[in-house]
Symmetry: C2
Subunit: 340 residues, 2 copies
């Protein structure tokens, strides 16, 4: 199993990429890597710790000069980034050299380059960004998180198929439940596209476990396994949740600092709290996927650490082993046969 890594993407690159790969390799010795980026920097890190020797022996480092920055517009990245570490990592998948690519950099550029290099799966009109949110019951798959600000009912229906395949392969759910994000759970609520997408899901012959509409708080409650929405609302749900989570943590810290007894309480409770906060930290559930492409491309959180990046590698391994794209193609083919 070979994974190509863009070593230059994300806030802590290339260090956290290499450290994360070493951590993942210790867990999954069957992995091999093709690493794209500044060879000198990468080799320095590989030589910096003795236990990176195994990683060095299981990796092929390919030098690239160009880096897609987090501020580059997708159109600029497409024009000027042909020789970037990001483009090369994607191309390794395109040319069959790697089973999947992982990048922690610019999401818009990654999506644009992946679309051009890999094309969408047959029967899929638009790829989507799919990721995991923490929930009271574990994790909720949400898509699209920003690739498609406006979506038709058919787009949302295809997202449901892709999100379900993601939940089966990454969360190992047998029969994941699917909900469409709306501003009320009653039939007739919301906008036309979500109404029609719900109709498509109710009437399909695919064995999809459609729950109906869900609201924003159902993401954290874990009411369903897969929440389907357009990229505008999905991105806003993602960022608003992150903001609210951050504010809550910030408030807890403020409370702990506000009196002597609270400080002592914080000291006593902090190991337990660190572990629960880690559970709901988006970085510890790392590894979103650009679903709907001819190849597996995983987006790691840009601000992740080595442990988070190792989690992205684990998610990628699950996607490869679970043959996520074969599942999607099989279901889409059934839909196409139905419609003929």
């Amino acid at each position: 199993m070979k994974i190509s890594l863009d070593a230059m993407g994300g806030d802590n690159a290339p260090k956290c990429i290499i450290h994360g790969a070493a951590e993942a390799l210790a867990r999954y010795p069957e992995l091999e890597f093709i690493i794209f980026g500044d060879q000198q920097q990468i080799n320095e890190i590989l030589l910096s710790e003795k236990n990176f020797q195994r990683l060095a022996s299981r990796s092929e480092v390919n030098h690239t000069d160009t880096v897609v920055s987090s501020n580059d517009k997708p159109s600029v990245a497409l024009r000027q980034g042909k020789d970037s570490s990001m483009a090369k990592a994607i191309n390794a998948v395109k040319h069959g050299l790697a089973d999947a690519a992982i990048c922690a950099g610019n999401t818009g550029a990654l999506m644009a380059m992946s679309k051009v290099a890999l094309r969408t799966l047959p029967g899929i009109d638009r790829p989507a960004i799919c990721s995991l949110f923490p929930s009271a019951k574990g994790q909720t798959v949400v898509l699209d998180l920003g690739a498609n600000p406006e979506c038709s009912a058919e787009n949302l229906f295809q997202f449901a198929i892709m999100g379900e395949a993601f939940a089966r392969t990454v969360l190992h759910k047998k029969n994941p439940t699917i909900g469409i994000l709306n501003i009320g759970v009653e039939a007739g609520k919301g906008i036309d596209s979500v109404q029609r997408a719900a109709d498509l899901l109710r009437n399909t012959h695919l064995p999809l476990n459609f729950h109906g509409f869900v609201e924003g708080d159902d993401i954290a409650l874990g009411t369903v396994d897969v929440v389907v929405t357009d990229g505008f609302s999905g991105n806003i749900a993602l960022k608003a949740s992150e903001g609210a989570g951050w504010l809550c943590k910030h408030s807890v810290k403020k409370g702990f600092a506000s009196s002597i007894s609270a400080k002592l309480g914080a000291f006593l409770a902090s190991p337990a709290l660190r572990s629960v906060f880690k559970e709901i930290d988006p970085r510890s559930r790392n590894g979103g996927m650009l679903v709907g492409l001819n190849g597996i491309v995983v987006k790691s959180h840009g601000g992740t650490d080595a442990h988070g990046f190792a989690n992205a590698i684990r998610a990628t391994k699950n996607l490869i082993e679970g043959k996520v794209n074969e599942r999607i193609i099989a279901e889409i083919n059934i839909v196409r046969d139905e419609n003929e």
Copy 2:
């Protein structure tokens, strides 16, 4: 200053409505109330505590038989709820008997009835639901929260004017900053309506303090005072934030229960944590407004307690004193003159 109350709306009605009114009256002795609802229940509560005597003497209780339930569709409420406590409370504003109405019940029904009874302000195409989110800097005004699932650029522009007037009167901000919710802060991001709304705000002669685009996490960060969005995204941001905040609190509780030292820590820190959690609890910042109507209608959180309802009364008092609608009309008139 006279406020009409729907005593039958919300999870804890009529008790929390009456207790909340008593609490508000203790703070603001100039208030008077017209209370609509089940007279027997209301009078029993008014007689239950000695210090409710003052409230009883400052209130006129009007009996109603019909209650709009939280599950009623707006269209059903409009047809069947003409004699409900909700309708009567709104009509008191329409007929000049009260300066504002407050209701903790069904939001959709409240909006539908208020629109029919009060009509929109001249120059405003659609009223919106406007409320306060907790933020690291205090509070953020967000609108629309669900009245208008689809919005034009002109709608969003009008929401900006209304949200700004709300921030001036309720938050006492001198020159509130305004942001449009989007999936990226760069110009050119997102959907057409937000692009054009941003153009309208950049080019207006109104003295609006337009910041530009903001993202979902900026609500909790407090990047701007007023966040403008359509009712679909706004409702999802609201509910997703509530869900994430709930999950965070739930995780803290789980952490506190997980070991003996964590339990002891919880005991020591709990007074401090209770106070910070109260700060970020949506119920303690109670009092959304249906902005854009010929009259002030305030929506209290349905699950609020007496203290939360008293806060809704305080917010209502600010809106009346701050002449929120006169501000909106003055600004809309300038825009209309500009366009002529």
